[in-house]
Symmetry: C2
Subunit: 221 residues, 2 copies
């Protein structure tokens, strides 16, 4: 079996590695590393969240969730209270859930699971981002950390969208996930509150929507 | 039942519209339109492509595919032969498949289906982008048209990734979709050729990978 330079991504160490070694005995080719990473992160499509799709047909996965957020960033950037670098917001959104490939999705109202979430996600970041070539490894890691820390206007806006989106889907499905987990209005309001740090307009919308959800019985009081 | 200003997105005309009308009798609130659009495009998560996930567990959908491409753009932009505005590339990628909500995914090797693809997708664009408020409607439509026309460096690079990604997934799954549709090397090479207009490096990789795929029987000769 011939192994070309641009051989297959074989995680069990096959032609890909062998192929690269023909060029550079000690280092794997940069593009090879990037393509291996691109195949590795395909696994995010199999990480299920607690949020249903808008039509209630199944649970959402973290990859399609990330797409939805990224496009929301394009559409709703005008409501950010502080000026934001949209490219940076979108990059953060695209990578913010990658750690779930190892750490899984932690339901935000599951207090038990939230206790060691940071530790699990940090270990995941250590493994996953290290798969990238030098330079890119640090860039992507910093984007993830910026998102987690919520200190910049970009991180605050990206986080706001990450909270708004499941609320929209939950409302649309008559509180599907909220009801199945017995979540209360006050819990959701606390979870959503950081939206206020990014956008008064979006926060106003969410506050009204949550009241309405409680009135309709989608959420407990 | 009380209907707040920021009421639910009810496609059958419910509180959302009524709520907006309390503020502005003749026009729906801009944010309401954007949030309705955001719920409408959730349907892209249910549009299945012919490409399998990397682990072969199921077919990929167009929303998670778009996320994958957008992150590939971040990681592989360095291989674009002409300088590209990365934000523009990513925006194009995020919207490029929205028309499939109405038109469905057309398999690129299905000659019959490809005949009226342009007509079906144009009708879809007319309906879907018109849901957006003024200004944004035109912006998103232009991004989609730019992607389709492949005339700018950004559109060429976005298109290159849209071709590279399914090839990677097909190779990784021993030619799953290629074999099940009896696709030949020459067909795939023709389909992939526009990658050469965007990136000599990526095209070199793909050419070698396709040869290898044929050698291994993932693709017919």
């Amino acid at each position: 079996m011939r192994c070309g330079r641009a051989g297959p991504r074989d995680r069990r160490g096959g032609c890909g590695k062998l192929g690269a070694m023909q060029d550079a005995p000690n280092t794997q080719d940069r593009l090879e590393l990037q393509l291996d990473f691109i195949l590795e992160i395909d696994r995010l499509k199999s990480v299920l969240r607690q949020t249903p799709l808008a039509d209630g047909s199944r649970l959402e996965n973290s990859a399609e969730h990330s797409w939805h957020l990224a496009l929301m960033a394009v559409l709703l950037a005008e409501y950010a209270d502080a000026p934001v670098d949209l490219l940076r917001v979108i990059k953060m959104i695209l990578v913010h859930d990658l750690v779930e490939i190892d750490a899984g999705d932690t339901y935000c109202y599951d207090e038990q699971a939230c206790r060691d979430k940071a530790r699990r996600e940090r270990a995941a970041a250590d493994r996953i981002f290290r798969l990238l070539p030098a330079g890119q490894r640090e860039e992507i890691r910093l984007l993830w950390e910026e998102f987690e820390q919520r200190l910049t206007p970009e991180a605050r806006f990206a986080n706001a969208l990450d909270r708004l989106q499941p609320a929209l889907l939950n409302f649309q499905t008559q509180g599907r996930a909220w009801r199945s987990h017995g979540v209360k209005l006050e819990q959701v309001r606390r979870r959503m509150a950081p939206i206020a740090d990014a956008s008064a307009r979006l926060w106003g919308h969410v506050r009204t929507m949550l009241e309405e959800a409680a009135d309709r019985g989608y959420l407990g009081r």
